[in-house]
């Protein structure tokens, strides 16, 4: 599994990227077909003229390849797969649908017809079924807890940057490590990068200071980590498991694309209680499945919405539902980019931008960002620059711990998750009959409490 992330970067292949994008559409066809009990004949090619109503599965795209950003309900199109419509795209007429939230890259199932050949008139947007939650057997659960059903597990989640944009001051981090050891005392800490953010303005201006407590000054950013940051992190009590998940903005990795290979613990010079996981990563703590992804989908997803019942809802809820629905941690395509206007020559209002950063998607490998075995995680953690939050959406706990330190140096936040042990006798688990006998839904959302705490 982790080996799959170890592909060589910087070799995008357009045909391989397209193969994945095609598969993505096709993989939802059987899901829709089964969920709505449709037959193959109910599906048609929405790009060609027809008098009858059909079902179609495709990707939401802008109706012109040169449109970037600012989309509205009149400027969307549906892209078909190679099989379903020879990859053609057709403009969508959404006037007959009252409530929707759509975004570029979304796979949708639509009902409607194309009477004139010019557009597909949508009469219904079929909601995609949510994937199943993971389950455990009685045996699994008893083995995990071994009778110790009184122990609440405490897990801390933090997300970088860990230094302000105005200095390389690590006082907050040192203070936090101290608090972890003496008062918080968690079982595990999940730390998301960036640990050293290559987009930090001090790096751009060459303004790296001398580090006063270091004998031989670091000569590279990697050495800033091993000589300055690693010694602080290594102070974390060795009984606490620490999981590190990289960011594509981390200077500490040569793998600057998403999905992203894990850090190398030896190169970072960290002790054995540190575990380095890929981005995204799905792992278990006891029975609970944690899905962790470190690309800011909450910031990047630009929805086109219509209707009061949709727009009045919390935006984080809508986006979380999209992620669960689409069964992948970053369903936006093309990925977000951040650029800076450097000049606009007044003659032809031509603007020149400098590229700063982005989602850095390695499209051909996006299959690694899909939910593992098509299960929803019990807890989904996706850090964002936006306001920290913890919400229960479709019985999944969704957490954005917030940044550890704000760019200005103001204290940020972390999330503290307390999960009561799974206990077959206390009624908090739901029994489900499965082909393999009786199994239990974990219902972590019923047993957990999440606090968002200022660092």
């Amino acid at each position: 599994e982790p080996k799959k992330y170890r592909f060589r970067t910087m070799r995008q292949n357009l045909v391989e990227s397209a193969d994945y994008l095609d598969d993505q559409i096709e993989s939802f066809v059987p899901i829709v077909q089964e969920h709505y009990q449709l037959s193959k004949d109910d599906f048609g090619d929405p790009t060609i003229q027809s008098q009858s109503e059909i079902y179609a599965v495709g990707r939401i795209v802008p109706d012109s390849p040169t449109t970037e950003g600012f989309l509205n309900p009149e400027s969307l199109a549906l892209e078909t797969s190679r099989i379903s419509g020879i990859g053609r795209r057709i403009s969508l007429n959404l006037t007959e649908v009252n409530d929707f939230s759509l975004f570029c890259g979304q796979i949708v199932a639509l009902k409607g017809k194309n009477v004139s050949g010019d557009y597909f008139l949508v009469t219904e947007i079929l909601s995609l079924p949510y994937p199943n939650s993971p389950v455990s057997t009685t045996e699994d659960i008893q083995k995990l807890y071994n009778g110790k059903t009184d122990r609440t597990s405490k897990i801390i989640v933090t997300s970088g940057p860990y230094t302000p944009a105005t200095s390389f001051d690590l006082t907050y981090l040192a203070e936090f490590v101290d608090k972890v050891n003496t008062s918080i005392k968690p079982h595990a800490i999940v730390m998301f990068g960036p640990f050293i953010d290559v987009t930090n303005p001090l790096i751009a201006s060459g303004n790296l200071p001398n580090f006063p407590n270091v004998k031989v000054q670091p000569k590279t950013l990697d050495e800033v980590f091993s000589k300055v940051i690693a010694p602080i992190l290594s102070q974390i009590n060795s009984k606490i498991q620490v999981v590190l998940i990289p960011s594509t903005r981390d200077a500490l990795t040569k793998h600057a694309a998403y999905p992203q290979d894990s850090f190398n613990r030896n190169i970072l010079q960290l002790p054995k209680n540190f575990k380095c996981f890929a981005n995204p990563a799905t792992f278990q703590i006891n029975e609970s499945f944690f899905g962790c992804s470190n690309v800011d989908v909450f910031k990047d997803m630009k929805e086109v919405t219509k209707g009061g019942t949709i727009t009045l809802r919390n935006r984080f809820d809508r986006i979380s539902e999209h992620v669960l629905n689409q069964r992948r941690f970053y369903p936006v395509f093309p990925g977000g980019i951040k650029k800076k206007l450097i000049s606009s020559s007044d003659s032809k209002d031509k603007k020149i931008y400098e590229h700063l950063s982005g989602a850095d998607l390695e499209v051909a490998y996006l299959g690694l960002t899909e939910f593992v075995s098509s299960f929803t995680p019990d807890v989904m953690i996706i850090p964002s620059e936006l306001q920290q939050f913890a919400r229960v959406i479709q019985n999944v706990i969704v957490i954005n711990p917030g940044v550890f330190v704000k760019a200005t140096g103001v204290r940020g936040s972390y999330a503290q998750l307390s999960i009561l042990p799974a206990n077959i006798d206390d009624g908090k688990l739901t029994k489900v009959e499965s082909p393999d006998g009786e199994v239990y839904l974990h219902n972590v959302w019923k047993r957990a409490r999440v606090d968002l705490i200022t660092i």
């Binding site: 060589r8 795209v61 001398n210 000569k219 590279t220 093309p334 700063l356």
Partner: protein
């Protein structure tokens, strides 16, 4: 395992030709915020390589090694990020569509009726050459033998007023060897992951299957 046999690519192309589309490395002086292009141990109106490192001509600040390597690394990463932005361009001159949309038939142009072929605007070859260019700037042998791509041409506004003689370039290359090796290690970190550096036999023979 024959299919995984790795071999270096394009080692014979002359650097000046190979780097003709590579962009220069811009450095900012941490002390006076002056920005200038760094082109190795060459004559420049903005910086000198002295025996103890890189010095800003405007304010005489001598860069610490980290003040150079961190800017080099940031510059490499912004190139990689631009590469991953995945801009495509249509090769039909009358169309020339530039987009980040990818058709499920990758190479197909999304403009109505256009039969052009789409390709990545920032190709992996260009990125690979860009990294090799950065590597060459800190290559002592290339500096000594003055094999670097020139930053300026006579007539440029910034064309250096003074010049550097061959023997001082040789001496300065040796005096800055450690500093240059440290910078090269930063470039090598990324070159080592750059898939273009290796070619498997499968892809060499790709054209036979098309």
């Amino acid at each position: 395992n024959g299919i995984d046999t790795l071999q270096p690519l394009e080692t014979t192309v002359a650097d000046i030709e190979r780097f003709k589309d590579s962009s220069a490395l811009e450095l900012t002086c941490p002390n006076c915020a002056n920005k200038f292009l760094f082109g190795g141990i060459i004559a420049s109106n903005f910086y000198t390589m002295c025996y103890n490192g890189l010095q800003c001509k405007n304010c005489e600040h001598i860069f610490s090694p980290l003040q150079i390597t961190s800017q080099l690394e940031r510059c490499i990463r912004s190139h990689i990020s631009l590469y991953y932005a995945g801009w495509l361009v249509c090769d039909d001159k009358t169309c020339g569509t530039v987009t980040r949309q990818i058709s499920v038939f990758g190479k197909r142009c999304l403009s109505d009726g256009c039969t052009g072929v789409m390709r990545y605007k920032y190709s992996d070859k260009k990125l690979y050459n860009q990294l090799l260019y950065f590597d060459s700037l800190f290559d002592c042998e290339k500096n000594k033998n003055q094999l670097l791509k020139p930053l300026y041409h006579s007539g440029d506004i910034d064309y250096p007023i003074s010049s550097l003689n061959e023997s001082s370039i040789k001496v300065l290359s040796e005096q800055n060897r450690d500093l240059f090796e440290t910078n090269r290690s930063v470039v090598q970190k990324y070159l080592s992951d750059c898939a273009r550096r290796y070619v498997d036999l499968g892809s060499i023979f790709e054209f036979m299957r098309e």
